[in-house]
Amino acid sequence: MKAAAFDLVRPRTVADALAALADGARPLAGGQSLGPMLNFRLATPERLADIRTLAALRAHAETDDTITWGAAVTHAEVEDGRVPDPTGGTLRAIAGHIAYRAVRNRGTVGGSLAHADPAADWISALTALGGSVRIAGPEGEREEALTGWMSGAFATQLAEGELLLSVTIPRPRPGARLAYRKLCRKEGEFAMAIAAVLDDPARAIRRVVVGATDGAPIIAEGADAGPRAHAAIDAWPGEAWKARLLHVSLDRALGDIAA
């Protein structure tokens, strides 16, 4: 199938991009999710604003406490270590198992967070790390914590006309660990189950995210986050065998932390 007709604009600045969005355009980043949707005519926007090369979205920055990736940083850039990884390699490894290299070369972190596929990787991993996103819109800029980001499958706090600018990830302290388990049968496939667990004793943080739940992820915090996430899976309405996979991924991630 071929995409329905659309216009394409290529704004040079965030302001231009916001103007285009105000004019009804939908952001096009790497196109690795939107492209297939357009080809399937599942998405039929009248106008796209190509934001993939906007300098502001391509940047990355570090402070003592955080690192920030522009929304248009690609999965491959994370994989290759071309942008800093505050976990000392776990995010690089996660990136390396998203889709395939040819997809990772184009697909962006911001696009993944904005698209909010329940089975996508960044949503779960960066939520566990306590990440937040910076958003620009007609009313100015704001920050949203990823813990409250998804309201359902493919649904986020992002409003029409808004642009995701960057994601900021707090640096885990020394001694902290991020465990990440993605269960899928084929390399590059979307996950059947995801568990991400951050254990950061110095900050007294234990956060568990269970993804690929067909909706917003299960999030639990605190010392008993593990058992509470398990309980939430028990209450999850999906099929029993899928719930079992969620439990297994969680057990394995918790096991990685304990190891």
Partner: protein, 153 residues
């Protein structure tokens, strides 16, 4: 109008924005070595080199590639790494119908250059995004491993 560089030649395309890069290459420029197998990013038949790295031509839109540098299989005619891969593909019977082959070669070349130390497991993992329905992959994997080994000396 979109201007980009295709196989070393600056090219101006007059295609509607909805035309994906693979269709622009194939239909407008006659570069039919780039194949289409799914048009949703999974099969890898359309893989081209875009700004130096492999990318899916079926889900990149030509108009969004203004200023880009594109290399299709036809653009590797005199590339030495590709020459090694071609010879290895024949020697290891890495193709049957040949439909996946151009995309497979572009991915293979990226593996050889990006991961010179790749072992069999890594090569198989890196090939995940290129489906072949004919060969069962063994010849392809062996061909790439042979080129890697030869280059390591």
């Amino acid at each position: 109008m979109t201007t980009l560089t295709v196989n070393g030649i600056e090219t101006t395309l007059d295609v509607p924005p909805r035309t994906h890069l693979a269709d622009a290459l194939r239909e407008t420029l006659g570069l039919t070595g780039t194949h289409l197998g799914c048009e949703h990013g999974v099969c890898g038949a359309c893989t081209v080199e875009l700004d130096g790295s492999p990318a899916r031509a079926c889900i990149a839109f030509a108009a969004a590639c203004a200023g880009a540098v594109v290399r299709t299989i036809e653009g590797f005619e005199y590339d030495s790494v590709m020459a090694e891969l071609r010879a290895a593909f024949t020697a290891h019977h890495a193709l049957q119908c040949g439909y996946c082959t151009p995309g497979m070669l572009i991915t293979a070349r990226d593996i050889v250059l990006r991961i010179p130390g790749a072992d069999e497991a890594r090569v198989r993992r890196e090939l995940a995004g290129n489906l072949c329905r004919c060969t069962g992959y063994q010849g392809i994997v062996d061909a790439i491993l042979a080129v890697l080994a030869a280059r390591r000396g």
